[in-house]
């Protein structure tokens, strides 16, 4: 890597320490993106990029990002799961960068679930958002 890039990294490091302690504090939302073959082929990577950028741009220091394998509903990929601090989960389906932006704004920042993008399970059957 070039010296210029590494210098930037040194600078980031200087300002960083306290924020990392915050993020591992498990007080905020945990956002998980499905990143198996099905998710990747359906467009999970740009969704992940948008989430990274929006979380950083809005200084959401207590939100953690992660990814997971195949959840089993490949036809609804890209999938994003949002866990609240109590471990309660909301599953968003057919995501794209635009929807991801709305998720960050309304759910992660406004604590309001974007119901129109979510999936529900009733009697063990997945209810698609289009049917809902």
């Amino acid at each position: 890597m070039k010296k210029k890039s590494l210098d930037e990294l040194h600078a980031i490091r200087k300002n960083k320490k306290s924020e990392i302690d915050l993020r591992t504090g498990k007080k905020g939302y945990r956002v998980v993106v499905g990143m198996a073959t099905c998710g990747i082929a359906a467009g999970a990577r740009p969704v992940m990029q948008t989430l990274i950028e929006e979380i950083e741009a809005n200084h959401l220091t207590d939100v953690t990002l992660a990814q997971t394998g195949c959840i089993g509903v490949c036809r609804l990929e890209p999938l994003v799961e949002v866990y609240d601090p109590e471990g309660k989960k909301v599953t968003y389906v057919h995501m794209n960068p635009e929807k991801a932006k709305k998720l960050v704004k309304e759910h992660l920042m406004g604590n309001k679930v974007v119901a129109e993008y979510t999936m529900e399970i009733i009697d063990g059957k997945v209810i698609d958002p289009v049917i809902k």
């Binding site: 890597m1 070039k2 890039s5 590494l6 930037e8 990294l9 040194h10 980031i12 490091r13 960083k16 924020e19 990392i20 993020r23 591992t24 990143m35 198996a36 073959t37 099905c38 990747i40 082929a41 990577r45 740009p46 992940m48 990029q49 990274i52 950028e53 979380i55 950083e56 953690t64 990002l65 992660a66 990814q67 394998g69 195949c70 959840i71 089993g72 490949c74």
Partner: protein, 183 residues
Amino acid sequence: MKELSLHILDITQNSIRAGASLVKVIVDENVHKNKLMIQIEDDGCGICKEKLSDITNPFVTSRTTRKVGLGLSLFKAAAEQSGGHFSINSEINVGTKVEATFVYDHIDRAPLGNMAETIVTMILSFNDANLIYQHRYNDKVFIFSTLEIKEILGDTPGILKEPEILIWIKKTVTEELKDLREE
């Protein structure tokens, strides 16, 4: 998959599931020889001989959530449809190496696509595993290593997953690859 970089991301997810602690990705673009080579090597748990012989069969997978495994099959098809070859070698408790070659200017060769996004997404999935990514373009080479980054940032668990760091990685890889292709 629309981009070869998406295949690379996908194959490395296998490495992580195999418990790898180091993943090496090599991309070698040789325009003069009209050849592109992609290699992914890990030190994960490996694949047994019986399974390896049938690994690119889409109906073979180690997962339990569904019965198909398309990752390697799709990557193999991507190589072969563009006049290239695919190979996989593995040894139990040593690791696995996947290699694909492509005819560079073949009309059916998918574009490499956004490697920077692939690297960032990989790192986010890697937990404590390390990545060495070597990208060669004709005679020039760029090497990216999470070991080098951890030397600067320290080894705090999860430090590479900080959005600020991920954004720096994306910017750095994008710039370095652009420089590589210039001239």
